[in-house]
């Protein structure tokens, strides 16, 4: 088979930090190519380059042997490269059929609704998608939306489609349907790049798999070589020095957070407790249920079961309930969910504390800015420019500002979701120190992360979640990088640790 896309020594720097350090890789026409790697290995940067979101710093992309320039999303679209992200893009008020052929109705001015429906049914038939073509897209489930989005790519005659964790939100039967769909795509000669943290999916589906590590290709495996031990070996980055930071064990006697039978529609009843000073690390494949814990505790989704903090039961129906209960949620998507990009650093930091800073209902500017100054100093936010809009700060300093929002309120429970995603390398250590400091001060801390390195650096206890249930929970000292990685990519718990 010939290479459809060939990457030659692709590099990408972000302000001096090398994220991709020379990727050379080829995708063959009509293959399903798995892409594996730890968080921060460079997968998402690579996809963004292939879809035109980022331009590479150097290196070449060849398509059918000829160099192509992909600097904008529309370039990728024209070259026949498409991607499905987790938030699929459909027009909610349009029907399934209208969505599938959107942009490709044919004709000059007039549209023919019968033809739209016929074309869509034809495509659905070809790819084996069994749905009512006249249903409104807004009534579809997450899985159905994903599949309709795939169908929309089909008519666009893409040559290569990148799927980023497509099964994260799908149940097992839905995953099976999706795999059937992907197989049809391959039969049509379309190349699929399949990104996943789940090794069994990659084994089942992919013809080849490439493992990225630390911005480089650490190996490409043929189908029959894909094996847990080999993949783990290739994924773990032994060269990079371990962060000389760790959690010596700060847990006290008193239980702060107690979950009893916490369950959602995607989480099986879960009972666990976090003690004062304890940092519990939670990991697993994306969509395995970690986000359900975060949503329930943040008051963002319906749940059943009991949540007790310092012995007092709480019902968390909204984020303000969670705040009153003493839970601080530091979400992954800081820009959207935690910061006001155009407000200044000082305003962002002091916003949740305004109630405490106000006198007779009026905000005292002086106490607000002195509070901001204290946060900036305590968290080492750089540069020390309280009046500058927060969007001009780096990811790491934005993250510190989000943490700073909660300091005044003395939350009892801190929940960090991917605390160092998008954070520059230099600031990671500082953020770890802040998190450890919060635990040392007696708070219960939960760190939800897909980075094994991060969990080993921070946690006192580590829980692994698979398919909505804890598959292993064990003290940090019983984990090594290899064993933890093995536990996250396959549900099995290695005999050695149980």
């Amino acid at each position: 088979m010939t290479a459809l896309i060939e990457l030659r020594d692709l590099r990408k720097d972000f302000s001096g930090v090398h994220v991709l350090k020379g990727i050379s890789l080829s995708f063959r026409a009509g293959e399903i190519h798995g892409l594996l790697g730890e968080n921060g290995a460079g997968k998402s940067t690579l996809i963004k380059i292939l879809t035109g979101v980022y331009a590479p710093s150097s290196g070449e992309i060849l398509m059918d042997g000829k160099p192509v320039t992909i600097h904008r999303p529309i370039d990728a679209h024209r070259a026949g490269l498409g991607a499905v992200y987790q938030d699929s893009e459909l027009a909610g008020s349009f029907t399934v059929a209208e969505n599938i052929v959107l942009g490709n109705e044919g004709g000059r001015l007039w549209i023919n609704r019968k033809k739209i429906r016929r074309d869509a049914v034809d495509i659905m038939h070809q790819i084996g998608l069994d749905l009512d073509p006249d249903r409104r897209a807004s009534t579809l489930t997450a899985a159905e939306m994903q599949m309709v989005t795939l169908a929309t790519l089909f008519h666009r005659r893409y040559k290569m489609i990148i799927l980023d964790e497509p099964t994260a939100r799908l149940s097992a039967p839905e995953t099976k349907m999706l795999f059937g769909l992907i197989a049809r795509f391959r039969e049509q000669g379309i190349t699929i790049v399949y990104i996943s943290h789940r090794l069994n999916e990659v084994k089942e589906l992919c013809d080849r798999a490439t493992i990225l590590r630390d911005g480089m290709v650490s190996g490409t495996l043929e189908r029959d070589e894909i094996d847990e031990d080999v993949v783990t070996q290739l994924m773990v980055n032994r060269s990079s020095a371990e962060l000389d930071i760790g959690n010596a064990g700060m847990a006290r006697e008193a239980v702060v957070l107690q979950l009893t039978g916490l369950a959602t529609d995607r989480l099986r009843p879960l009972t666990l407790s976090v003690r004062a000073g304890e940092i519990l690390g939670i990991t697993g494949p994306l969509g395995a249920g970690m986000e359900q814990i975060e949503r329930s505790l943040g008051g963002l989704g319906a749940y059943t079961g009991n949540i007790t903090i310092d012995g007092l039961p709480h019902k968390l129906h909204s984020p303000s309930d969670a705040r009153r209960a003493g839970i601080a949620l530091i979400p992954e998507d800081r820009r959207k969910q935690a910061l006001f990009p155009n407000l200044s650093l000082a305003e962002n930091v002091s916003l949740p504390a305004l109630g405490d800073l106000a006198r007779l209902g009026l905000i005292s500017n002086r106490s607000a800015s002195s509070y901001a100054a204290s946060v900036i100093e305590r968290l080492g936010i750089y540069p020390d420019a309280p009046e500058r809009p927060i969007r001009y700060f780096s990811g790491g300093n934005q993250q510190k500002a989000v943490i700073g929002k909660w300091l005044k309120r003395d939350a009892r429970v801190y929940i960090f979701v991917e605390p160092t995603s998008g954070v520059d390398v230099g600031a990671i250590r500082q953020i770890y120190e802040i998190i450890l400091g919060l635990a040392a001060a007696g708070a219960a801390v939960i760190v939800i992360s897909t980075s094994v390195k991060e969990l080993l650096a921070l946690s006192e206890t580590i829980a692994v979640i698979h398919h909505g249930a804890i598959s292993a929970i064990l003290p940090r000292e019983n984990c090594t990088r290899d064993s933890l990685l093995a536990m996250t990519i396959s549900a099995a718990v290695p005999a050695a640790v149980t």
Binding site: A142, S171, H467, A491
Partner: protein, 336 residues
């Protein structure tokens, strides 16, 4: 994979399927039901209300408003706002009246309508390539046009000579019992309805307004259709301006602004008709009809203007509010 099949169930989105039949019927026909009930009420209270001549009167009085509202429907469907529609009526009206003595009726009509389209084009370019919000750019355009209207007229009305009988027929002619401009309205509505339901114009404007990202990734040139929506809006307002000039045999320097708020009321009321939840021309037309029917009915029964305004406002809030309740989303954080 096999052993894991039973673990996690798919989240089920509560959609139309879970709401009862009564709710669905209410959603679809609720607004129309209100219109019919109010109509019957007026017919009972006033012997003159339910007559052909009154029906003709209502249609005649709503012509310009209906055209403006139908145009605005395209912009709202595209997900934007056009606050300049009302003033565009005045501008088109003035340009037409000013041009008639110089270049004749046909040229003047074309001139008025083309002027309106150019304004729409500028609005469209401002919200797309210049990246201004629809509210801001069309608000600015509203003031600019108001200024231009004053300059063009020096603040006086521009009369049209009574000898221009062909032009006067546009607004004042009759075909049997039906006023000629009502026929124009009907023709414009039918063409507009076909364009919005069967052409790429309506289809793509709807897609862009629903989910611009999806439209963009589908290879639709999003900017083009936003601009088209603004041109359609001004085009319809321009036609309204020409008819208004003919009806009143003159162009007034001010007064078009009044159509703006009526148009928004009609578009949002119309979006609830037939439970579509998004703007559509038929709904808008019925929305305008409702507003003018209430106006006429309350007038006949003897209510004051104040009471009419109060009633219209309450109906708008109730209809749109009831529709939103029947159409609940999980988290609601949009306040525009």
């Amino acid at each position: 994979m096999a052993g894991e099949a039973s673990t996690v169930s798919a989240p089920v989105k509560t959609g139309a399927a879970s709401t009862g039949l009564a709710m669905r019927l209410l959603r679809r026909w609720g607004t129309i039901l209100v219109i019919v009930i109010v109509g019957l009420l007026f017919a009972k209270l006033s012997p003159y209300f339910a007559s052909v001549s009154n029906f003709n009167n209502i249609l005649f009085s709503m012509i310009v408003s209906a055209l403006v509202s139908m145009g605005l429907t395209f912009v709202v469907a595209a997900g934007s706002f056009d606050l300049s529609v009302g003033v565009v009526v005045t501008t088109a009206s003035i340009v037409t009246a000013l041009l008639i003595p110089d270049i004749g009726v046909a040229g003047a009509i074309i001139g008025g309508i083309v002027t309106a389209c150019v304004i729409g084009l500028i609005n469209g370019l401002l919200v797309t390539y210049a990246r201004l919000s629809g509210i801001v750019s069309t608000l600015g355009m509203m003031f600019v046009l108001d200024g231009i209207n004053q300059f063009l007229t020096n603040g006086y009305q521009v009369p049209v000579d009574y000898s221009e009988t062909a032009f006067m027929y546009i607004g004042q002619g009759r075909v049997g019992p039906i006023a000629f401009p009502v026929i124009i309205l009907a023709v414009v509505f039918i063409i507009g309805h076909i364009v919005s339901t069967r052409s790429k114009i309506g289809h793509y404007i709807g897609a862009v307004g629903d989910n611009p990202m999806a439209a963009y990734y589908s290879g639709i040139v999003v900017y083009r259709w936003v601009i088209v929506a603004f041109v359609m809006s001004s085009l319809f307002a321009g036609i309204g301006g020409v008819i208004l000039t003919s009806i009143s045999s003159s162009a007034q320097p001010v007064g078009g602004e009044g159509y703006l708020l009526e148009a928004f009321a009609a578009v949002f009321l119309g979006a609830t008709i037939l439970g579509k939840g998004k703007p559509h021309l038929l709904g808008t037309l019925l929305g305008v009809f409702f507003l003018y029917m209430v106006s006429s009915g309350m007038n006949m029964v003897g209510f004051s203007f104040a009471a009419r305004q109060l009633f219209n406002g309450l109906v708008l809030i109730l209809a749109v509010g009831a529709n939103a309740l029947l159409n609940r989303e999980e988290i609601h954080l949009k306040f525009i």
